[in-house]
């Protein structure tokens, strides 16, 4: 039943890892020139499947057929030769090199520099992705960096382009540009396998969708004709409730930042410039912004990893700028950073170890310095249960968990310590819809119980969903926080660009 329309036919692909079957008898087909969505929760097996197609993983069973030919790439270069290209969620670019140099590094036989520069210009113009070959990657925005990766793929004239969570780092305007490019590619006959958690995007862009759950194909649909809610429910096989925020009673101001300026720590860092804001009890303050505009620097100041002048950060009226993370935890300021592996968690250590990492003080897990391992394991199990972390147990290494499950663990670890102020950077970055809903609900509940929250996120929908007030950071400066109610996407776009929508309206 092979029709000539089929570009890639996946038939019975199975891949098992010790203790978990990542893909079980997965079969579907991608037609030429279609935009095909791959949907599923974290741990549903999307990554493994995509890696199989790209030659990074060898399946235990099953076959793939590319354009009528047997297709079993042993490594990514074989996949690329066969016309399969991939843009990863995490960019693999060198900051100190130029765009052209970065692209040349990824090629088997790079052409001469001048020829390559011309090709880059041609491709980027043809697909509406403005990109100068001679600029240094360190100076580019996240959206521009993604263009480098896409152009690198397009130079190989792929027949199938795989995109893993491409919009997680983009502004709404940049998403529009990307979608135009993808639609153009699809019209020219390039098939696109599109992985995303943002169901609205999939509905706007994709022709068909295959839904994975626990490593199996559980259905397919035409996204345009299916509601986002139905798709989400197919993914999790359960009714999904969207978190609802009650406009809570806001109490007194608990945390204030005033006149905070900080020079950039490194060449590629961002300087913070005269930042001022405050948070009240029971309030969630959302901080938007495109990646690399000072979010990491701001987070480090709030968590205490970077110390500042005492008065620039105040908690319950007292200056805390000189306090480190440990001292801040003692008074109730807790934080969960963006990067899960290596910052929020130590990947090679167990979940119990990772629970001890930030909960030792408040949960009294090491009285007098002596670790109460029974208590540590009990607390880790409590977080695992309370936040529905899918893992064999507290002894599992953190790095063995899928991104969404580890994220639930690191957020849960802080939420369950009863913080007075919780700072979260990218709470649901790379996390599937069900886990994201779970995390957001927990954050809202925490605020309702009287905690103050600061949520730094690049996901505007998320900010709109949970924040009471929203501000944005752009090139190390912060715009004035505004009530979330009544903000439009256009307002947000202006704020991400560092402008105040009200002033714009007046002007």
């Amino acid at each position: 039943m092979n029709s000539t329309d089929d570009l890639l036919v996946i038939d019975g692909v199975t891949k098992a890892y010790p203790g978990v079957v990542a893909n079980s008898d997965v079969s579907f087909r991608i037609r030429k020139g279609e935009v095909h969505a791959l949907l599923g929760e974290n741990g549903a097996g999307k990554s493994t499947l995509v890696k199989t197609i790209y030659g990074l993983v060898t399946p235990d069973a099953g076959t793939m057929t590319l354009d009528g030919q047997a297709y079993a790439p042993a490594e990514p270069s074989a996949a690329r030769q066969a016309g399969v290209a991939m843009v990863f969620q995490h960019f693999s670019l060198f900051d100190a090199l130029s765009v052209a140099e970065n692209i040349a590094l990824g090629m088997e036989t790079p052409p001469k520099r001048r020829v390559l520069a011309r090709q880059i210009r041609e491709v980027s113009e043809a697909y509406g992705l403005p990109l100068s070959p001679n600029r240094r990657v360190g100076d580019l925005s996240a959206g521009e960096r993604q263009r480098v990766e896409i152009v690198r793929c397009l130079l190989q004239n792929p027949r199938l382009l795989i995109m893993d969570e491409p919009t997680s780092v983009l502004t709404p305007q940049e998403v529009e540009i990307l979608f135009r490019t993808l639609r153009q590619l699809s019209a020219e006959g390039t098939a696109i396998l599109y992985i995303s958690h943002k169901l609205d995007e999939i509905r706007a862009l994709c022709d068909t969708a295959t839904i994975l759950r626990h490593g199996k194909v559980v259905g397919d649909c035409v996204p345009r004709d299916t509601s986002a809610r139905d798709m989400a429910e197919m993914m999790v096989a359960a009714k999904l409730d969207t978190p609802v925020k009650h406009p809570g009673t806001r109490g007194e101001e608990v945390f204030a930042v005033d006149g905070l300026s900080l020079p950039a720590a490194s060449q590629f860092g961002t300087a913070l410039k005269d930042i001022a804001f405050s948070v009240r009890k029971g309030e969630i303050l959302g901080i938007g912004g495109v990646a690399g505009n000072g979010q990491d620097e701001l987070f480090a100041v709030l968590s205490g990893e970077t110390r500042t002048a005492p008065g620039s950060v105040a908690f319950q009226g007292a200056p805390v700028g000189r306090l480190g993370p440990h001292e801040r935890r003692a008074i109730g300021i807790l934080s969960a950073p963006e990067e899960r592996l290596g910052h929020a968690a130590a990947p090679d250590m167990s979940l119990a170890d990772n629970a001890l990492m930030t909960a030792a003080l408040r949960m009294k897990l090491a009285p007098g310095g002596w670790i109460d391992w029974k208590g540590v394991r009990a607390y880790a199990e409590k977080v695992i249960k309370g936040f529905d972390v899918r893992t064999p147990g507290a002894h599992t290494a953190a790095g063995a968990l899928s991104g969404g499950n580890l994220q639930k663990f690191v957020v849960g670890r802080e939420v369950m310590q009863d913080p007075a102020l919780l700072i979260v950077n990218q709470p649901t970055w790379g996390v599937d819809a069900a886990a994201a809903a779970h995390i957001r609900k927990a954050l809202i509940k925490l605020a309702e119980e009287g905690a103050a929250l600061i949520v730094i996120s690049q996901d505007l929908d998320e900010l709109m969903e949970i924040s009471d007030r929203i501000t944005a950071i752009c090139d190390g400066r912060m715009v004035r926080p505004r009530p979330a109610q009544g903000l439009t996407m256009n307002d947000l776009g202006l704020m991400l660009g560092g402008r105040d929508p009200e002033e714009e309206a007046v002007a």
């Binding site: 060898t58 079993a72 042993a74 490594e75 935890r329 910052h343 929020a344 990492m357 030792a360 090491a366």
Partner: protein
């Protein structure tokens, strides 16, 4: 085609298997080397690993020697392992060992010939302080000026060797020694002598200290938050910072402990088996302890076993030089192989070997 695939989590089995395989491979490859040197490989391996313990002819001499050699190796390696766990690389234990010996011996020589019951304990404290102070130099420079502690601690070994030479011919020289270099012999100064606790067993206070250090390090790493922070800093430095670990304090602690333990090892040696400060006092224990620390997986119990094994190759190696006239360099190459193969087999605790099919047809 063979390729390496990263394991989702490090393999527990390989962590334990790697040292055993490294020993076995070292024996096999060492045997080939000995054969190429024209010696009987089986006899050579037997002389190194078997005879020091079981030979009726040498056993009574070399069995106590085993503990005498293993003691300082274990004591130094335990200290180094704490820093290595945290990603703090003190490579200069040899220098701290020498400075500890000098500081401790200087205390004894200053009060000679007074008999004081507390003299040996005082010397131990002085020895620990001497090593601690020497290790604080790279520690302090690292925390203040972000210098590289590997280079600074290593270069300070050569400074320490110069001071040792100066002491042997100068300020610590035996005034009744007829102008020969070297200090008074502490073995003949009862209050200062780190004598065997049980005659002919090789057990002196340094061996006891080594055992105590093994237990203390085990308890620290398994039960105490400080040990946890040491491990965390090594595994994920940013996570450690988030947990509230102060990197500067951790560096000073790890450098200080490793320096103090190396200094104590030096003192026990100079007041016991060596007996006196002499130009050739530094015997390379500080460097060999690095191998011991890694061979023992930076784990206290592993280090205990690795220290005994390393001491065995020392004594067996000497025996092989004596009996089979193997060159000393061959023995050193043999010991080096051990670390080499260990690091090679270590790859498998993080990666698995896969036989991948060839390119797509």
């Amino acid at each position: 085609m063979i390729r390496l695939e990263r394991r989702p989590a490090p393999s527990k089995n390989w962590t334990y298997l790697a040292p055993l395989l490294a020993v076995a491979t070292t024996m096999a490859v060492g045997a080939i080397m000995f054969a190429l040197l024209g010696k009987d490989p089986f006899l050579a391996i037997k002389t190194i690993f078997w005879d020091p313990i079981f030979s009726p002819q040498f056993g009574s001499y070399s069995r106590p020697q085993l503990l005498v050699k293993a003691g300082p190796l274990i004591l130094i390696a335990i200290g180094l392992s704490l820093g290595f766990r945290a990603g703090i690389w003190n490579i200069g234990a040899e220098g701290q060992y020498i400075m500890g010996a000098l500081a401790g011996a200087a205390v004894a020589l200053a009060v000679y010939p007074m008999e004081l019951p507390v003299l040996l304990p005082l010397m131990v404290i002085a020895g620990a302080l001497g090593g601690w102070a020497w290790a604080m130099i790279p520690g302090f420079l690292r925390t203040m000026f972000n210098t590289n502690e590997i280079l600074v601690s290593l270069l300070l070994v050569y400074v320490a060797e110069q001071i040792l030479a100066a002491a042997s011919v100068g300020f610590l020289r035996n005034p009744e020694g007829g102008g020969f270099p070297g200090s008074r012999n502490l073995q003949s100064y009862p209050s200062a002598h780190n004598a065997e606790i049980i005659a002919n067993s090789g057990i002196h206070w340094g061996v006891v200290a080594a055992l105590i250090s093994v237990i203390a390090a085990y308890v620290l790493l398994q039960r105490h938050i400080l040990g946890f922070h040491i491990k965390l800093a090594g595994e994920a430095p940013r996570a450690a910072k988030l947990a509230g670990v102060n990197p500067a304090r951790l560096i000073l602690f790890c450098m200080g402990v490793s320096g103090a333990l190396a200094g104590m090892a030096g003192l026990f040696e100079v007041a016991g088996p060596a007996g006196k400060v002499s130009i050739d006092f530094g015997a390379g224990y500080g460097f060999t302890a690095i191998i011991v620390a890694f061979l023992g997986r930076l784990h206290p119990v592993g280090i205990l076993l690795a220290g005994l094994l390393m001491a065995l190759t020392y004594i067996g190696g000497e025996l092989a030089q004596l009996m089979l006239s193997l060159p000393a360099a061959a023995i050193q190459a043999f010991q080096g192989m051990l670390l080499f193969f260990l690091l090679a087999f270590d790859v498998f605790s993080h990666y698995r070997l896969r036989l991948a099919p060839g390119r797509a047809a």
